[in-house]
Each structure stands twice: as structure tokens, then as C-alpha cells.
Symmetry: C3
Subunit: 660 residues, 3 copies
């Protein structure tokens, strides 16, 4: 039996005035209800098969062959049969339309028709009955022909077939349509079209692909129904997982709703096959933030995309050398994104800023992106300028927005974010927040819990410290390269050789320390000391003239190291300035510096000093023009002399420092 309405979206039943299709017919309109059974003539869709027809029913047909013994008629692409000449009362030409009745399906499958000549009839369109398969669950249908309904999210021409990536409410699957080697199949189909695709499920290189036999864009109601279904499903599927925090910590937990929103947007971005580009701070905490998110998103891409290369095309991670999103970096990123769009048919990406991106200094780059369809998400723990940044972002998570501070490191937040995206990876991440915290010298109370958690996984506190050092050291030498495999080995996230991980961390930490020792051997004798009016110690070091250049540790870290030693040595309030020809790095313990305020005053007071900079209460950096260094530094020190002591304020590495 055939089915008029196979499923919600497929009904094409049209009641029309029966227009006689050959001159033998007369037409007359009448209400549908009054019609007798034989007043129905079915109009088969092109993809109808034998399963859609029944003996005794009437069909619209077209003559496709005339022979001595009769005419051959087509009811659909695959349903054809003969009207024997003995039943014909007139002659037909190829192409003539007529109405026929199915007399018999013979044993060998041949169909035998007779002409029908209803005076008045209703035409009922018949769609081929099919069950819509789910792109995410094709695993046990390998070798079978399936029907898919979904949105085309990427179209890639290969040297062989054209690959249409079709996304539905369960996943994305690449579908190969072959016209001719290298020839774009179905040029009428565009990205964003909702389609009905028929094809055979195949396994290729361990992944699934559908070999398309037919592909049509849906329109009208059909399209709307599918779009609604997809949108609802997309929203549901984008919903992040409900996770319990790794350690109980109310300060962090109040950020969970914001993190969940980021997680949802990222999951949705993956489901929409929009590429994600991560830019992160090139230091230990930045690595601890970006690697878990990378792992989670790649795992989620794997789960939702049948194409094994999707991981590589949809995710890219790059460290930023500067502590903000530089104009040079955004120009490069935009240029690549436009190239990918032009050459590979990819959507423009979403930008995810990690351990970077919260400050006014990032705004020019964001403004540049604003002219393109490139959403921006930020997870950062540097002192933010929300008024400046948020007009450009689609999500911004920062502990300062909750009256918390840098002590909630980006790595800590991102481990939770990664788990919301993909909770399976929790096992591999338990030690990461501790590394992030140690690396950024977080004084959070929760650090004790994080370290204990890491210890329960077999990491000693000393080794966690080594990991932080090793990450910083590798980040320095990798420069602009993400160094995926190397960094995985160091952080032991997605690393397959525990022994190597351990040796490598020890070696790198040891090198970092010995390089630092050598640097300090040169620099320490030149550190100048004075006692400020406030009784704070002020240490100054010329990192351009009294430290090695272009090697590890860079100026900011060198200054930090000196500062830490002096704090330890004196046990009293300490300010340290490491200055180069046109910059100074500032660190303080027990003194309230308020660097943004100082920068703004210096800029006004010192005409032609070109003073600018960033930071907050205890850490920061300033820039100035080379020729005004003495004036700027003198004025700076004067201001510092007046700075209020505050034992609660402790230094951190988390500032905007000039690193090269």
C-alpha cells in the first residue's frame, strides 16, 4: 500500500480540479467528499518505488516508448510498465501524458497497465515513504540506503566528489555527491540550505560518510518544519552538561552560570560547524586554560562530526606573545579567516580569548573584527575593563566582575568550562587547576584543595611547580607556535607516555631554573635599592643593560624573580621596577600602587613622555618613549614613595607585562 502522508513534513496532497491531461478526458470540478474511489488519480513523486503502488489504482503516467505491441509508460523515475496494444484505443507519442490503472504486478516484477479515463478525478500527490535517519546514529546502518534531512553547513569540492556536510538534530555527517571527478555536484545547493538527501552509509577510514544518490533543497512548509525541528534540537544539544565543581569553592561556583553560557555557545558553534579560533596568553596559566578547552572541544567535535578531519578544520589555537590582542595578530587572524572562507567554503570563525582579552587594550582588535561575522567570547582573570570590552563580546567571564580577583585563575575556570563541554575528560584534568594556580601564584584558599586533588593523582607539589616552570619555558621557546604535541607532553593532557612526561618536566624545569640563575647572577649585582618614605623597599634593575636579552627568562619574568627574592629576603613591603629602554615592569608586595591611576597621572604630567600602560594594584607595566626614560622613572618613583602600605596586597605574575 502507498502512503499519502508519510510524515509531518512530507505531505504534498493537493486537491485540484482534475484537468484532463489528454484530449480523451473531460474535466469537471466537484467537492472532494462526493468523490468515488475511482475518481482518485495518484501522482507519484520522482523517487517513488514499487512499494508505493497498488494494483487497481489509477496513476498519472507519461509515455516513454512506443513499440509494436504497445506503449511503455513512466510513473516515476523507477516505476515503469507496459500498456499492451490490445488495450489501446488510440495512438500515443513519446512524451504524451495519460492516466493508467495498474492491472497487475507480474511475477518477474513487470507492471501491466491499462488506460483509465475517469471523467472527474482528484489528483493526490504521493511522496515516497521513507524514514528519516539520524546523522549521529548511522553506525549500524553501514551499507544501507538512508534518508537524511538537515542543513548544509559546509560544501567542499575535492578532486573527486563534492562533500556536503549535513547537520541535523543529532550530528553532522559528510555526504559525498559525485558528478565527475573535481566537478561541483548540485551547484543549486548552497550553504544554509535545508535538504533531503538519500544515500548509502559507508565507513571510510574509521568514520562514516554518506554516498549521496539524490540531494534536493526543501522549501516552503517542508523547509520550515525541518528548520524548526533543527533549531529546537540545536538549542537542546548545545546545552552544556551539569557538572559538579572539582573542589567546593563558592567563589568560583558563582561564575558557573556565566561559564555555562560560554560552554553552550561553544557547543552550539561546534554543532553549526563554525570554526573556533582560540587566542591565549602564552604562559603557564594560559596553557592550563587552553589545553583543557582544546581537548573538550575536539572530543565534542569528534562526537558530533563524522568527518575525522573536522577536528583540525574546526579548531585552531594560537598563543599571543603580547599580553593583549595586538593589531598585528588580529590582522593576521582576519586575513586567514577570509582566506579559509574564500578557498575552503568555511564559515568565518568564533574567537575565544583565554587568559587574555578583558582589557581596553584588546578593544582596537575587537573593533576590527566587528565588521565581520566573528563572535567573540572571553574568559580571563586579568583586571577587566568591562565597559570597554563588552560592547564587542558575546560572552565575558572574569572573576573581577564578581568582586573576586586574579586568584581564580583562567586555568581553574577553563577546567570547569571544559568539563561542561565534555565531562568525560575530567579524569585527565584533575591536576590542571593546581598547576594553573601555582603557575600564576594564586593565593586562593582553594589552592590547598586543588593541590590535594593533584596529589591524589600522584603529583607532588614540587612537581606541580616544575610543570608551571616547564610550561613557561616551552612557551617562551615556541614563540608563536602552539606546539601541540610538546605542550601536551608537558602538561600531561592527551600525553601517552607518563615516563616521558615526568622526565621532560624535570628537565625543562631544571633548565628554566638554571637559565634564571644565570640571568640573576648577571642582574642581581646591579639591582639598586632605596628606602621609600613609606618605609617600603624599592628595587630597580635595568633589564636591558644588566640582563641577557632575547633569552629566557625575558624581562618581565626576570623582574618578577628578583622581586620575589627581595620579598623573601626582607619580609617587608617591596616594590620592584625592571626597566628597559622604553618600558618598565612593576611588581609590589604590601604596597597599593594603583598603576592605572599612576599611568594616567604620568601621561598628563610628563609632556612628550608618551606614557601608557596597564595593570592594577600590585602588578603592571608602563611604556614610554626612550628619550624620556629618566623623567618618567623619576616621576614614577616619586609617586611610589607616596603609595599607601597594605599588607594584604601580594604580588602576582598576573599583570600586563612587557615580555620580550
Amino acid at each position: 500500500m502507498f502512503v499519502l502522508r508519510t510524515r509531518g513534513t512530507k505531505l504534498q496532497s493537493v486537491k485540484n480540479s482534475g484537468t484532463k491531461r489528454t484530449d480523451k478526458m473531460t474535466s469537471a470540478d466537484s467537492g472532494p467528499d462526493e468523490r468515488a474511489d475511482d475518481s482518485v488519480v495518484y501522482d507519484l513523486a520522482a523517487d517513488c518505488t514499487l512499494s508505493d503502488i497498488s494494483e487497481g489504482e489509477q496513476y498519472h503516467a507519461a509515455v516513454n516508448g512506443v513499440v509494436d505491441y504497445g506503449v511503455f509508460v513512466d510513473l516515476s523515475d523507477s516505476v515503469s510498465g507496459l500498456v499492451h496494444e490490445s488495450n489501446l484505443s488510440q495512438s500515443y507519442d513519446v512524451g504524451d501524458d495519460l492516466v493508467v490503472k495498474l492491472l497487475e504486478v507480474r511475477e518477474n516484477g513487470d507492471l501491466s497497465f491499462v488506460p483509465a479515463d475517469p471523467d472527474d478525478y482528484e489528483t493526490v500527490a504521493v511522496a515516497h515513504e521513507y524514514k528519516v535517519a539520524e546523522t549521529g546514529n548511522l553506525g549500524d546502518q553501514v551499507g544501507e540506503t538512508v534518508h537524511l534531512e538537515g542543513e548544509v553547513v559546509q560544501i567542499k569540492q575535492t578532486g573527486g566528489p563534492t562533500i556536503f556536510h549535513v547537520s541535523d538534530d543529532t550530528g553532522v555527517v559528510p555526504c559525498a555527491a559525485f558528478e565527475e571527478a573535481g566537478v561541483r555536484a548540485h551547484p543549486e545547493i548552497d550553504i544554509g540550505d535545508v535538504v533531503h538527501l538519500v544515500g548509502v552509509v559507508e565507513e571510510r577510514d574509521g568514520a562514516l560518510q554518506v554516498e549521496a544518490t539524490s540531494l534536493d533543497a526543501l522549501d516552503g512548509d517542508e523547509e520550515d518544519v525541518v528548520r524548526d525541528r533543527l533549531e529546537t534540537a540545536l538549542d537542546e544539544r548545545a546545552e552544556p552538561h551539569e557538572t559538579e565543581p572539582l573542589v567546593e569553592w563558592p567563589a568560583l561556583e558563582q561564575l558557573f552560570p556565566d561559564l555555562r553560557d560560554i560552554a553552550k555557545q561553544l557547543r552550539r558553534t561546534v554543532l553549526e560547524s563554525r570554526p573556533i579560533r582560540v587566542r591565549h596568553h602564552a604562559d603557564g596559566d594560559g596553557m592550563c586554560a587552553s589545553l583543557p578547552v582544546e581537548l573538550a572541544l575536539k572530543r565534542f567535535i569528534e562526537q558530533t562530526h563524522q568527518d575525522p578531519d573536522a577536528k583540525r578544520h574546526l579548531f585552531k589555537r594560537l598563543p599571543s606573545k603580547a599580553p593583549f590582542y595586538e593589531m598585528e595578530d588580529v590582522t593576521r587572524d582576519l586575513n586567514f579567516a577570509l582566506e579559509d572562507q574564500a578557498r575552503h567554503g568555511q564559515k568565518l570563525p568564533l574567537l575565544l580569548m583565554l587568559d587574555n582579552g578583558s582589557t581596553e587594550e584588546d578593544v582596537p582588535a575587537y573593533e576590527n573584527l566587528a565588521h565581520y561575522d566573528i563572535p567573540i567570547l572571553v574568559v580571563d582573570h586579568h583586571h577587566p575593563d568591562p565597559e570597554a570590552v563588552e560592547p564587542y563580546t558575546d560572552g565575558h567571564v572574569n572573576p573581577y566582575l564578581y568582586d573576586e580577583d586574579y586568584r581564580i585563575t583562567t586555568g581553574m575556570m577553563c577546567v570547569e568550562l571544559a568539563r561542561m563541554i565534555c565531562p568525560d575528560i575530567t579524569e585527565e584534568l584533575r591536576h590542571v587547576p593546581a598547576v594553573a594556580g601555582i603557575s600564576d601564584r594564586s593565593k586562593a584558599n582553594a589552592m590547598t584543595d586543588y593541590v590535594e586533588l593533584a596529589e591524589s593523582e600522584g603529583y607532588s607539589e614540587e612537581f606541580l611547580t616544575d610543570m608551571g616552570e616547564a610550561l613557561d619555558y616551552e612557551a617562551f621557546w615556541l614563540k608563536y607556535d602552539p606546539g601541540r604535541n610538546l605542550i601536551n607532553d608537558v602538561l600531561n593532557v592527551g600525553c601517552d607516555d607518563e615516563e616521558r612526561h615526568k622526565e621532560l618536566v624535570s628537565f625543562l624545569a631544571e633548565r628554566a631554573r638554571s637559565d634564571t640563575e644565570q640571568q640573576l647572577d648577571a642582574a642581581m649585582p646591579h639591582v639598586q635599592h632605596e628606602r621609600l618614605a613609606s618605609e617600603a623597599h624599592l628595587y630597580r634593575v635595568d633589564v636591558e643593560n644588566h640582563a641577557y636579552r632575547f633569552t629566557y627568562p625575558p624581562p618581565g619574568k626576570t623582574t618578577g624573580e628578583i622581586h620575589d627574592r627581595k620579598v623573601q629576603e626582607t619580609g617587608e613591603p617591596v616594590i620592584t621596577i625592571g626597566f628597559g629602554p622604553d618600558f618598565a615592569v612593576l611588581r609590589s608586595d604590601g604596597v597599593r600602587l594603583d598603576i592605572p591611576e599612576m599611568v594616567s597621572e604620568l601621561n598628563e604630567e610628563i609632556v612628550g613622555g608618551g606614557v601608557s600602560g596597564g595593570g592594577h594594584l600590585v602588578v603592571g607595566s608602563i611604556k614610554f618613549v626612550k628619550g624620556m626614560r629618566e623623567q618618567v622613572l623619576d616621576a614614577l618613583v616619586e609617586k611610589m614613595a607616596d603609595a599607601e602600605l597594605d599588607e594584604a596586597l601580594q604580588s602576582t605574575t598576573v599583570g600586563h607585562q612587557q615580555e620580550d
Copy 2:
């Protein structure tokens, strides 16, 4: 009927002494005229078909099968038939040659022969009759078998077939010959060979390709005839279009013959499938010069090459950071060209220098290229050194060679050049000369017309200025990257989103201005002023010590900006020197500096100063060794004090400035 001489190049009729091919024949030589009809024996070429034979004629044949009822004989690859045993008076073995007469072509296509035994005969070679198709007009022959005659201009081995790019008098088409996947087909065919190719036209990815079934190199007369035809046609097709200038401007029009010559060489280079590499000045005028030429050449490549990838392989554009062709750049370019030649079978490229390349400083790089087959064309409006440069160039257009000057910018010339190459793009370029002129501060009278022309396209003068700023700004941040998609969006050449273009230009211009403002806030207070003996104002600024480094605007532009403000402020003759540790940028208004003369004097006078440099009357830059800066600058200022005032001389950005 068969045809002995199908077309000019195809005759292979050979009169020879009939050598009996089997022992049944006797041979005797005699003049062709005396021969009776049956003394002619035709020798079919391998590709002859049924259309080339006639009943009753005699043919050379070879036995390819012996059966009970006779022998099968081959006349060509596809012409075979039977000699029935009833007609045979001797036995034959496979491989034996004999002469047969065609008795009958049966209804089913079978051929029936009888042995012939002419005592004396002339052998006449028969080539298969064919019509030569045109590579540029294969569009309505898809699916048909065609014959091509042309020159092989590139041979590329793919993982599948070997692709021979065949060029004739109408275009270039890729022809795929398949031996075995990845195996070089026709190893006997080299680049430069003139060939006869038979194949089926196919459409692949929207472009045409010929699937070759046979491919043979021509030689002797055949080759000569085709080569002559191709050369004549090449010359004709390379002929540029006759265009009317966008605005009436005799100064520019006198350069048209030179520009037409460049256009012809470029078109010919495309037709010969030689890659073109453009090196251009990385500033506004350089972009306005190179983008129109890029668009025109790519359009022309599309029109003449069936391979859709040809655009990408045959054209590359790179900005030069330095204002001349540095040894490092030429080394890199040459290295890439040799690699492309070695790995992809490409010809060495032609080098097109735009808004760069006219000066002595370019000569070392040109000398380096001179050892390879790499022609050089230059279109520039910087003060040229024709004696130094022209021994190395195949074309050199520069307004100074016509007693004009920098006011005819390279962008203005190149818009006309682009139109000569491909006039269809005129619509997209009307606003470009105005941007070029504003960007390089051209004081040309024609600027009014150019600006009006742009205004008629909807561009206000203010917006044109913004475009110039935006181009400079993006050029700075892109560094060595051509940034194709980004720059197209800024200049609105090949950009598809008018709205985005407008917003982007406004944003970038605004950023450029605000960065410039910040730079000048720092630098202005440090500008030193003195009044020269000539009454001219001299301003000096230390751009290393009193300006930000490594950011926009770079030293040259910073100096120019300061200069422009001082000119406006004073309304009197002004010289500005922006100096760094080992360079100085010079700008003047109303003073005749003659920088080359000064450089040459300084170099002689200051021993160990290492003074070198370039420029001309009002703008330039000099280099020196760091340790001699004071002496060099003092001597320079002394010379400037003596420089003659000349109100007509106005500064421009068009000089050789140190930009980084």
C-alpha cells in the same frame, strides 16, 4: 571518400618506389603521372577510421589473425576486415604484410577484402581527416572528441593522470592523459613541444578539460607551420585593448605607448603560461597600483586558461617592506621560483615591479636575476636611474622619463595599464586613481578630475582620504603578507559587501589617525626648531628616542606628519629631519635639497660615516653608521642652510624612506 591532405599541416603523401611487401609482389619505379588508378596503394595512418576508406581501393594491410575461413587484416588501429579463404591463393602468418582491395563494406559494418597484387604501384599515405578545434572555444563541444594542435606549456604529474597544458592561438586548456595512477604519460613529450592531441572535451568543476586519447609531437614541416601560426596568433592576441584614458590628461597620455608595451608583454606572458610575480611598494599608492593589475591579469588568465587553478599558479603578489628590491627579497623570490620549477614543472616567472624598482638600489637584485630566464618589467614614479636600471629591464615606465614627476602616481598609471589588459574591469576602478593620488599627495592638476570621477561613483573626497589612510594602516600591520581579501575590502576592488567596505575604511582610518595622534603627542614636544640662514625653518625630531617604536605610524610617516603640520603652521619654507640611530628621513617644502648630491658630498667629506641614501629634491632618506650620527646630522644641516629656496617645490610622501 578519403582525403589525402586534410589541411595545410597534415599532408604526409610520400611517393616512393613500391616495395613489394610480400614475396608475391614485384616492384618497379615509375613517375606518378603515368600511373593507372589501380597502381595506387593507400597506407592508412594509425588513427584512420571507416570514413577514410572506399570500396574498390587498394590498401597496405597486415595479417592479425588466421582462421579456417580466411585471414583477418588490419589497415589501421580501427579498420580491420576479412579476406575469405576462397580468395586466398597462399597461406599467411600473423604479422605478414600484403596489399588488399576493399571489396565491400557490409550492412553490419564488416569489411570484406580480396588480395591485390599490383605489379607496380605508388604508395600514398593517408592521414585521418580531422578539423582542428580551438582550445578557447571548446564550450559547446563538451562530450565530443576533438583534435587540438598547440604548444605544451606546462606538464604536471598528478596522483592520477598527467596534465598537459596545451596552448594554441585561442587559449590554453589542460589535457589529462592517463597511463596509470601517478604515472607520467607520454614521457616523450616535453614542455615547448608542438603536439597533435585527440581527446574528449569534459567539464570539470565548471571548467573545461580534454581527456586525451592520443598525443603526438609534431616535427618537420608540420611543426613549423603550427609554430608560425601560433606565434602570429600569440602576437595578435597579446595586443592590448585600445582604451580611452579615464580623464583627459596629456601628461599621462604621453606614457600610453610605454604602458601599452607593458600590457602587451604581460598579456603575452599569460598566454605563454609563464607565471607573473608582482613586487610592490607596501603603501597606499602601491596597493592602488597592484590591485587593479592583479584583477586585470586574473581576469585575463580566466579568459585564456581553462584550468580554474591557473589564476593561483600564474599570479603572485607580494609587498616589499623596503622601498627597493632588497637582496633578501630577491633571494627568497628566486629560491621559490626554482623550487616551483623543480617541483611543479612551471616556467621561471616574469617579475613586475610596481611603485618600486626604478632606482640604482634595485640593481643588485636585478643582477642576481640576470643569471636566470626571468624578465623584469617596471612601472614606478620614484625618481629613476634609467642608466643603471634599464640594462636589466624589458620595460620601464616612469613619468620622469617624460619630464613629468611623481605627481603621476603609479596607481594612476596602473589603472590605465589594467584597463589595457582587460577593459571590462573599468567600472570597478574609477575611484582608484583618486585614492592613489590622495594617498601619495599628488599635486597634479588632473587630481580634480580624478576626484570628480570618484565622486560620481559615490565617494566623497573625505572618504577617499580615509581609504588612503586605511590602506597604509593595513599595509603596515600585514607586514609581508599580501592580505588579498582584506585589502580588496578596503579598496573596494573585487569586494562584495559595500557596507562592510565603508565601515571598515572608516574604522581603519580612524585608528590610523588616533595612533598617529598618540605618536605625535609623544613626539611633538621634542621637535627642535631652528631658522636656517636661508630663512627656512628646520625641524628635527629623534624618532628613535621620542616616538614609539614598532608600531604605527613608523618613523618615515611620523616625520612626514610632523612636517605637514609645520608647513601648515608656518606657511613658510620648511625642512624636517626625522632621525633614528643610523638613519634620517628628510622632507622639505619650498626648499631645493637635492638629496642625492648631499649624500654624495657627505659620503666623501665624512670619513667613516658610511653615508648612503636615496631620494631627490624634496624627499629622501640617508643611512649612516650609528656612531657617526652627530657628525653626519651636523654636516647635513650645514648643507641645508645653503639650500636654495624654491616655492614651487612641494613635499610628497614619495621618497625612499626608512620605514621600520
Copy 3:
């Protein structure tokens, strides 16, 4: 007849208690010896063919079809036949096992069986008889089916088949196994497995490939036997060639055993398909060392690998800008190697250091590699620190280890090394040792012989000098690029245009000289002279302030050039110091400096000087922090004043100099 044991590794004869396989049989155990002939039932391996069976014998079979007239049985993948119903006494279902006797092989090849019912029998496994082909000698077996036994050394998934590179005792051949386009065939096979592969030899792109029809991992005894054979053969094949030195020179010949060991390891590395990465000094001698080795290894790869791309995948060469293996370089190299391993299934590489790598400064990089399976070989002639280096190397050749010195240049050693790897290339290398020696100013006695050898090849001594200059010049401009084609043209190794080679060398040498002249014009007037207590002349030049920066010649070479002129000028002992902001380059003639000793003293004496450096008696460089330059240089000069004169000591360029 069939064969039970086809060859050593193939026996699978298993004596087991005959277990009746159908319920018609009864089983009874008995010793093998007592068995009658008809108590043997053969069990054919899946790949057995008709050649493995005989009429009258009994076989294990399985029913694969039941028809009216009998049952069809399978004995192996390709051996099947009928048991006629007339011979059947019971009914069978598909899948049933039974024992059959081969009644007859019919004329048409059909097999006719009868059921057999031995009460008690021994099962004897039968392997298909085959002859193992040699991967290195498949050239005359194109089109034939062959059997290979070897180790899988690389597995690469393509968009089409999976390519297994199989290595045996004669070579490596790529074998394509096709499952489905892009699908990993034989996922059960890993790198390192010893396999038995059956396939058809094909020629692809001039190279051989095997189209695999079956592929099985060997285990147990079979595996052991093959492994032993391969190991023995590998060791033999890795054996380098016995070569005669190009010139008689005992000093060099004593290094031959060490060089032969390096040659053997390199050959073995190639045979094992492990990639080789060369890092070499970016100067003339470094090029003369690395190009011959590159040529030899690529030739050897060609000879031993059927894959024409193997050359490119298995060999990479990169110059090092620094005179040692920097942390940045090793980080980059390791990152690439891990990426190649992850993405292309390649082994981690062997690192070959040429004209670099012998000193303590290389150790941190080596330590970094030590955590990965990356062997290190070093051939260098810089003053070595064997105790520091050798714990990390698998081979270290250096003339100082034989009480020789830098005069045996790395280029000289490597020409001999290259010939040991592949003696065919000797013709192309005869001139190279002379270039190497001249380039590094070797004062070796053998130089006369080398120059004569080069002269006999048509190179004048002047031209050899030009080649050295040209190499240095190109190395400078190529920066980090190996510049393969360019450098080949300069050194005339693998260059195909003699004329171009000559012109190019002359041009580049001339440019190098003119740039040097320009540099010295600036620098010479600033050279400061003093006479030391020892009567030696001391010259000092500030190469930062009195020479051009970022251009050729760089500081080290500038200093060397000045030194050489002063030595010539004075004819007396000379020391030259070229200093920059934080470094100094040292050269001496006729004075014993012992730079390492001086560095170590300075480091102790000057607190906060950050003095470090390298070098030896006559040449070296030191680094210090910028702000301590005066103190360091003063102390250095003081020490030099005390340095002992020694006329025998002559300067060389072979030191550790700061070049940028």
C-alpha cells in the same frame, strides 16, 4: 603435488588427534608413525590453489552450497568442487565441515569429490607454496604476482589506498592495500610488524609499487626467522663502501674508521626508513659539508626505496644561524618531528649535526632530545667538549679527538663521508674539499693537493675562493632557508647549467666583496690601535656603532676581514676585537689567547658581568650584559696584554662568533 613445508618459515604441520568433524566420524588417538596413508587429512591454507592438491588425497572441507544434485565444498579460498548427490549418504547444511577425497580434476578444471570417513587420522596443514621476491629487485616482475616478507616501516593513509612500506633485506617498497577510498586497510597491522604480503608489481610514475591482494602479520617461529634474516641483511647492507681518500693525507685517514661508523649508521637509518634531519653551520664549510651528504643520502634513498617521494620525506636539511644548536631550534625541530609522527605515521628522526654540534653549548638542546627516540650524530671540526657532548651522541667525529685541528674542515670530512655512503657521486665532489678549505682558511698541507684536484676539474684557485665567498653571501641572505636549488647552483653539486654556475658565482663573490668594501670604508677609520706589552698589535672596532647593521657582512665577518687586513699590513702578531653592545668577536694571529680560560676568569672576576662565551686559542666570541661592556672589554684587553706570543698560531674563521 603439494608441499608441506615450503620454506623454513612456512611449516605449519600440526599433529593432532583427529577429531571427527561430523557425527559420522569416530575419533581415536594414535601415534603418527603407525598411520596408513589414508589416515592423513590435509588442511589447506586459505591461499592454497589447484597446484597444492592431488587426486586421491583427503582434505578438510566446508559446505558452501547445497543443490539438488549435490553439495559444493570449499577447501581454500580458491579451491572448491562438487560432491555429487549420488555419493552422499546424508544431508548437509551450508557451513558443515566434512572430510572429502579428491576424485578427479576434470578437463575443464572442475573438481569432483567424494566424502571420506577415516576412522582415525592425522591432520597436516598445507601452506601454499611460494617463492619470496625481493623488494629491491622487482623491476622485471612488473605485472606479476609476488610474495614479499619483510618489516612494515611506515603506514600512510591516502585518500585512496593505505600504503604499507615494506622493508626486506634488499630494499623498501610501497604496497597499496585498498579497502575503500580513504579507509585504513588492515587495521590489525602496525609499524614494526613482520608480514607476508601477496600482490601484483606495478610501475607508477617510473617507480615500483605492489598492489597488495593479501597481507598477514607473521608470528612465532615464522616471525623470528624472518626477523633474524632481516637484521643480518640490514647490518650487511648498512655496511659503507670501501673508498680510497681523494688525496693522500694520513691526518684525515686516521678519522676514516669513525667516519665509516657514521656512514654505516646513516645507511642503516635510511634502510630503516627513519627520517634524517641535518642541522648545519650556515657558512661555506657548512654548505660544503652538508650538500655532499645530502646528495649521497638522497641517492642511497633512491636506490633503496621504491617510493619516489621517499627522498623528500626521509631527508631534511636546515642551516642554523647560531654557531650552536639553540634551544629555539631544537624546540622547533622536536615540534615538527612530533607533528610528522602524529599526522604522517613517520618514525622520529635521527639528527645529524654538521660543522656544528661538538661543544658544550649544544648540550641543552641534546638534553631536550634525550627524552625522545632521536639518535644524534655529529661531524664537526670546532674545538670540541667531548665529555659534555658524547653522553648524548651515538657518533662524534672531530679532528681534535685525534690531536688534529680545525684545518681538517667538516667539508673535507663530509666529502669522504658522502663517498662512503654512495661512491657514485665522487665525480661531482672533487672540487668541494678545496672550496671548504679555502672558505674556512684551512692551512692544512693537504690544501695544495685539494686545490690541484679541483684545478684538474677546471676550477682555478681564484674561482674556488669566489665560490667560498658566494656560499657565505647566499647563506647570509637565505637566513633559515636551506635554499636547495640556489646553493646547488653555487657549489655546482647537482647543478645542471655549468655556465650559469660560473656567472652566478662571479656575480655573488663580486657583490660580497663590494658589500664588504662598503662596510670597511665605514668601519676602518674607527678601528683603534694599541700596542700591547707583549708587542702584539691590538685592534678594536665597535661593530654596532661603526658598521652597518643587518646587512652583509655581519659583525663576525667584518671583524675577521679587518683582522686579516691588519695581519697582512703589519706582518706581526695581531689581536682584533670587534665588539657590539653585548658581545665581542675575537681573532688573533701569533698570540695564544686561550679564550675559554679568559672567559672563565672574566666571569669570576667581573661580578654581574654575565660573561660567557666559547672558542679556543685563536678565535672565539664572548657575551656579556650590555651595561658592563666597558669593564669586560678593559679586563679582556688586560688579559690579552699578558698573552704569550706564538708565531705558529694563525687565525681562522672557525670559531664561535656572534653573526647577527
